[in-house]
Amino acid sequence: MTIKLWKGNEAIAEAAVRAGADAYFGYPITPQTELLEYLSSRMPALGRVFLQAESEIGAIHMVYGAASAGKRAFTTSSSPGISLMQEGLSYIAASEVPCVLVDIMRGGPGLGNIQPSQADYFQMTRSAGHGDYHPLVLAPATVQEAVDLMSISFDLAFLYRHLVVLLADGILGQMMEPVEMPPLRTLEDQMPGWALTGAVGRPPRNITSLYLGAEQLEGLNLRLQAKLAQIAAYEQRWESYRTDDAEQLIVAFGTVGRIARSAVDQAREQGQRVGLFRPISLWPFPAQPLAQLSRHVDSILVVEMNAGQMREDVERIVGGPVHFLGRMGGMIPTPEEIVEALPMKPKAQVHRNGSNGAAPVKRIKERSYAPSA
């Protein structure tokens, strides 16, 4: 197999194609537009469905429709567009229709900007929209990992009949990295037993999220919760890096996860025993492995490109407040900045590059409940 340079957005698109995507519906929004543009020629070339929708709301409901027919359907967007999909996502989850969503996050709130961000963590891990459920949320740190996760996302979606979200940010969407692409999968046209195909010689099938009776709707919810418990049991993904002897633990996901990796290396060079815990599945959050690791370290530093959203999960799991470094609005933490934010300072003062007159870094760094309370 060959390794080629791929732009993140295009690599994700191609990975979806190779994973057997039958239909794509989307709406342009920076920084994910290349996904849509790439698919606008690639899907028709393979005789598959590509359709630019009139809006994100249109797109998610087209996906809902195509997925109801048992097809591998997906859409992609970025933060404001994802907000518009919240109702549709809730319907999809409640109807137990499998589908895949890619969110290439950008700066918010509001129109914000088009720079990278991780501020959809809450929006995606805490039930997209109303009601009780969590999408299965996967957060790659490299283009290769994005491709690998995209490759299994439809399988996961169909296995659990659930919504699978690939959560990345503008950096991952826009950057190029070497990628080994999986081969194009040819899927037999096997219609799942719940799909709408026309009621030929069988009773009709309905796909709905309406359960008028409270007991019926509680029944659906108990079924969903049971499914989520299963997903939580089987689908936790994470990476630990140099944690074996770590005294200080950094927790970071996605792009920040890879930056933190550099920070770990830098800190190690300076003699600090630092490790990295990088959740890959954000829901289910890899709670047990983190809880276990947390017992062996002296301090935990969560780093995010948001105001501390994953931090809340980490605090809940480790049972107390943690240190936090957050950059927002498209500002990207540097490895140096992360090292500097580590609570325990190295004994020896170490020379460090990169302090030549740059403006002082604004950041949130704290150790209390207050703003996240």
Binding site: I57, H61, Y64, V200, P204
Partner: protein, 264 residues
């Protein structure tokens, strides 16, 4: 001439009278369940017409329905078809998704006026602009029936509703919206008409239009839509017969019946 089923279901002897043949039976495309519609509500009438057309065209096993949010929210339980339930107003988008991946199936939406002409206007207009080969059964009863009779964009000038207690004032709340007229101008739309179910004669015409709308889809000509003026005795606070008169006397003048576009 009464509507006639293509295939008489059974012959039977009735009280010793000569052999009687069924001319009017329960359609295959409906399920024999009790509906939750109010007495005299013409949603039921329209359900039957759609089911009869599907039966007559012999397409029951390849027809998919997209139900709306509105009083017809349970339509998927009443039709004997594969079907799904869209979010409020989004049925045309969901139908687009279905039809694009299953181009040989027949896909139709069944939508109320709040659903299609208010929250879901964007979805119907763009399905029409794209020329989606779907059929839209658009039930206009001039109110939000399901939520208790609030004003709809189709409510009549002066109409008192639970959210226009002084009567709809066009100067403040605007004039009723005319969907088939609006869609007729689009090349993607192949069939756009308005009918009513306020009398036996009109019901028969409505059935013909529904049939032609499905035929339009079978012929792959573009989007077909039949707006049907329908009653809501409950929220109009009328008896069922009075509600039909209201359609005839009040609604038809505002929503003229007719063909706005017929291709093929």
């Amino acid at each position: 001439m009464p509507p006639v089923l293509e295939r008489p279901i059974e012959n039977q002897t009735n009280n010793g009278s000569p052999v009687l043949e069924p001319v009017y039976c329960f359609p295959d495309s409906l399920r024999d369940v009790h509906t939750h519609y109010c007495p005299g509500c013409t949603h039921g009438t329209i359900h039957r017409l759609v089911a009869e057309v599907i039966d007559e065209l012999g397409i029951r096993e390849r027809t998919l329905m997209v139900a709306p949010v509105g009083c017809a929210v349970f339509a998927y339980e009443y039709f004997n078809l594969d079907s799904c339930e869209a979010a409020h107003g989004r049925a045309p988008a969901m139908a687009t998704g279905l039809k694009r991946v299953l181009p040989d199936q027949i896909v139709f939406t069944y939508q109320g006026d709040g659903d299609l002409a208010s929250i879901g206007t964007n979805e119907i207009i763009h399905a029409a602009a794209r020329g989606e080969k779907i059929t839209v059964i658009f039930v206009n009863n001039a109110v939000y029936g399901m939520t208790g009779g609030q004003m709809a964009p189709t409510s009549l000038p002066g109409q008192v509703t639970s959210s226009s207690p002084a009567g709809r004032n066009p100067a403040i709340q605007g004039h009723p919206i005319h969907i088939p007229e609006m869609l007729a101008g689009m090349p993607g739309v192949a069939y756009a008409v308005r009918r009513s179910v306020h009398s036996v004669a009109e019901i028969r015409k409505t059935k013909k239009a529904i049939r032609q709308a499905f035929q339009t889809q079978l012929d792959g000509l573009g989007l077909s839509i039949v707006e049907i003026l329908s009653s809501c005795p409950t929220n109009w606070r009328m008896d069922p017969a009075g509600a039909l008169d209201f359609i005839r006397d009040q609604m038809v003048p505002v929503f003229p019946l007719g063909d706005f576009k017929v291709i093929g």
